[in-house]
Subunit: 339 residues, 2 copies
Amino acid sequence: LNSLVNRQWRLASRPSGQVSEENFRFVEEAVVGPSAGEALVRVKFVAFEPAMRGWLDDVKSYAPPVQIDEVMRASGVGEVIESNIDGVAVGDWVLGNFGWQEYVIVSAETHARTPLRRVPDGVAPQLMLSALGTTGLTAYFGMLEIGKPTAGDHVLITGAAGATGSIAGQIAKLKGAEKVIGIAGGPEKCSVLVEQLGFDVAIDYKSERVRRRLREECPNGVNVFFDNVGGQLLDDGLINMARNGRIVICGGISSYNDESVPPGPKYYMQLVARHLTMEGFLLFDYADKNEQALKDLGEWVQQGKIVHLEDIQSKIENAPKTFLRLFEGKNVGKQLLEI
Amino acid sequence: LNSLVNRQWRLASRPSGQVSEENFRFVEEAVVGPSAGEALVRVKFVAFEPAMRGWLDDVKSYAPPVQIDEVMRASGVGEVIESNIDGVAVGDWVLGNFGWQEYVIVSAETHARTPLRRVPDGVAPQLMLSALGTTGLTAYFGMLEIGKPTAGDHVLITGAAGATGSIAGQIAKLKGAEKVIGIAGGPEKCSVLVEQLGFDVAIDYKSERVRRRLREECPNGVNVFFDNVGGQLLDDGLINMARNGRIVICGGISSYNDESVPPGPKYYMQLVARHLTMEGFLLFDYADKNEQALKDLGEWVQQGKIVHLEDIQSKIENAPKTFLRLFEGKNVGKQLLEI
């Protein structure tokens, strides 16, 4: 095993504004180990999320920044190919914070702190990175704990063809929402929303007048607005809310690459006029409900009630390019890289 | 009575941006009536609120715009000096939508739709326009139904020397808030907050660095933020919130005179990072709880637990000037005009 070469991407520089491939550096190094108390995992899939952009900036946040020269942080799934850790067996498929690389050495201390999660039998490993992972959980908790759609509600999702948005919309539909409207960029994504995911309406923000379309589709207003995008689309939604509506702030991808903090939602005073609630969340706020959530999501996926879309690119060399797809609006469903 | 002259202010033109005295027209006209089914009220106090600025714009909102040539709308208290309405007696002190004028004729139809409310015996009439009126109710519901301060909380109020803010801060203190911080403009207002109203800390936004002061005063963050101002101060608060904090959007006086809708709170993504809730409200959302609220407020005022401040100007001629005081930051406590 000592002859294994690990190819990986490290953070080379912090982006100022738009992240680019040049911010990362490709490195090849020999795999050293695993030593006593360590396991070696061959990474199979790496996951990409818009929030990773925030880890590149040197600012305090819910997660510490990735350091310069550190392997770029990312969730992944892989197979244990050697193990000196009790309870971690060769051949196990496991989920962990593996980074943009082909191999990862996991120490018993790391495993004790944030355990490698075993992929359950019969589950495709990459599902743990999408519908049955943080993506599915984000959609689940945001929609059910904050959005709380009920029968008859009109529900609006921005970034609807993205990993979280596509699942959030389907959960709303499962809960009896009368009309689920997804906003996405381009006819291909819009067609996926309606044809494959069961959204009632798709609006293409690149070619349609969103504000007017929303007024037409929801003359009585939007009851639940699940926002992944921010910027102009957040304002378009705000101005179309129904009385007592709930706005779930899940993300704001439209501004993640801005050099300075852009203006906020200018129609926020709609909160007063229509008695709206706007609330954000992080996944670990609901850690105590993870088990039930994963059980529900697992059933829905198995029963075909939730269709999960994956956009799988390939080759470790393409990790930065794959990451950029998120901000170029190219991915449909969960952005993954198969190594 | 036919020789009575009614002096009044009518809306002459809609302000574009900053409202000014020129937007109003002073009119003298003979009092005609009261006829059968009408009562005549001599207005004693008129109340001023920032939200009245919104009624001058020709836009759909929770209240219809004041029309050009209409008497400027405003709450008032006055004495019934002649009455042909059952249940409305000469000598009664009553509260109603009287406008900027000395006399008002109230019809039985109007009285049936929105009844004149009798000022209870032993209550100073102008209290019905401040602590025991919409001002007190706004502070009460915003703080108790949305802010929900509990023992140990740090509570932040902007526009703290204003009518609503000054009461909201005292209610938070009554409910056991550990530290109530008021932001106001100028040393006089700041001194009133601490010396007369029992705020723990006052920050003068005109001379102090608000963001830094908040960080020093609340190293663990603000739990409840009651915002009357918007703009920069809303962002200063947002960036200093504690996890799971509640932001009550009560008003946004800093932008009421802006010609176009200004940028919104640029740090709204703090809602995600700290799991904050931001919620607005209108008074009539809580109409079913008015009775209990007025009972509580009455007791607190009577027992001296709530100090209510009134800024009383005089003469009907000064109505527009008095209105402008709100936006010039001149009033301390409830802005009233005694006629």
